[in-house]
Amino acid sequence: MEYEAVIGLEVHLQVRTASKIFCSCANRFGEEPNTLVCPVCLGYPGVLPAVNKQAITKTIAAGMMCNCEIAGYSKFDRKNYFYPDMPKNYQISQYDLPLCQNGSVRIEGVGFSGDEIPRRHIGVRRIHLEEDVAKSIHVGSYSVIDFNRAGVPLMEIVSEPDMTSPDEAHAYLTELKQMMHYADISDCDMEKGQMRCDVNVSVRAVDNPGFGTKVEIKNLNSFRAVHRALSYEIERQKELLEESAAVEQETRRWNDEEGVTTLMRTKEEAHDYRYFPEPDLMPLQISADMREEIRRNLPESPASRRERFVQEYAITAYDAQVLTGEKALADFFEEAAAASSAPKRVANVIMTEFLGWLGDQGKTVRESPVGPEAIRELVSLVENETISMKIAKDVFSEMMETGKAPGDIVEEKGLQQVTDQSVIESYLQQVVQENPSVVDDYKSGKEKALKYLVGQVMKLSQGKANPQQVNDRLRDMLSQ
């Protein structure tokens, strides 16, 4: 029997703002416990919420990045439940009129497993804005609460159950994160809890029109964990189905060390959230002008940038996927490539040398000691044959270390490629004279011997001879 998985994701993203959603406490991570709190976010008697416009603006921007319909009329509601991390014992959230609905996220490219993902659109059912809850820490016989996180603006992004594989779920999350970075909406750092993800997955026989039984997975702390947990869970459910056993509707916890999901609870407790319109806040009317202004400030989406890079710079789809992975990197590449005669070579230098160097140094693109113009200049030095690719590597290391312009480095160190015919000719003479046996080897048909001789000439020229020229001349010379 053939099976297919049906996957839906519920993602919570903290919105990056200066202050919390309903009070002016700073929205910052990593401070001393209970120092970013005030009567409002502690739910003290008598306080009222004052909503942060920026949180609304950024949620709308997130909706636009996901191609959502933006509500003309929206409002906040109270979701009532008792929990120590929820200061008021109700969460100000959005129930029936979320800010954004009916969007989609495009996924494509090379998946986490290395396989190609066909281009698809994953539906985004809704995006709403709410307040984050406090952080509770369990200390054995009791728990302690840090309210610094309480009241941080939080978006809930609910997908349609449109994904069919762990790769697609991973790609959806990656795309979402990229878009949020591009538009400066969220930092999406899962380790800091800025991005949290719950997964719903069911498996059904391909020829079965109905849905399988849905299982929810929690405690997913990385995209990799999402991928692994889904792979595990889909297999588990398949095996059950194959044994004709029933999949239970339940919530399971991902155990990252052991690579398994384990049962958390079988039955969803009967929640009765008693939603009603938040009387302390006025409704939102999102005018066409406001929408237009937000749209004007949106960046190009990573998907359209990928497409454009392939067209404008003649790079491969894979290269474009890598280069648009981060907005700062895409900007860097584009600035370097735009005025370059060899954008493809620029892409190569950035993907291999530049990213390699940053990776070794543990630095981000923004922390690069040189700007994109340095890469462009380096590539053009190779293009106009001032230096060889080999020398270019040395110049690259030097410029990353010193921050100097590549042209200056070449000038200072006299690294210009030797193209003077007579100088090269003298190197050739010397090498041929010093290596008679190798010359004989070549003449008797050992092609490899030529490589050695070229190497010797390059060595003699301290790498400054043009290797192609040396190769061609040697061949000529020895064939005579």
Partner: protein, 101 residues
């Protein structure tokens, strides 16, 4: 749902559980009777034809009442701890163990 036994409106014990209120048996019985009559009274609203009527959520509705994003000083943690019935290390509010999530 656990509500609506026979002709009565409300299952006081179930609702008190939702509201996290410990009630004595006497209270449950008393409230049951009193709230039945209140609910019977408020049922007079069902006499009104309210089709096509917009609900009023705010006495004086406005829209887009928001503030600009900007952070300012938070309150002193000592005051937070002083008001708390139980605390830990002078920096956390302490609660009974939160089992599960």
């Amino acid at each position: 749902m656990g509500q609506g036994n026979g002709t009565s409106h409300i299952d006081v014990r179930y609702v008190a559980d939702l509201a996290r209120l410990e009630l004595t048996d006497e209270e449950v019985e008393k409230f049951q009777g009193e709230l039945e009559s209140v609910l019977t009274y408020v049922d007079t609203l069902s006499r009104l034809d309210l089709s096509d009527i917009e609900p009023t959520a705010h006495a004086n509705p406005q829209a887009n009442v928001w503030r600009e994003d900007g952070a300012s000083e938070s309150m002193c943690r000592d005051d937070v701890i002083r008001n708390a019935p139980d605390s830990a290390e002078g920096k956390y509010i302490r609660v009974p163990p939160i089992i599960e999530e």
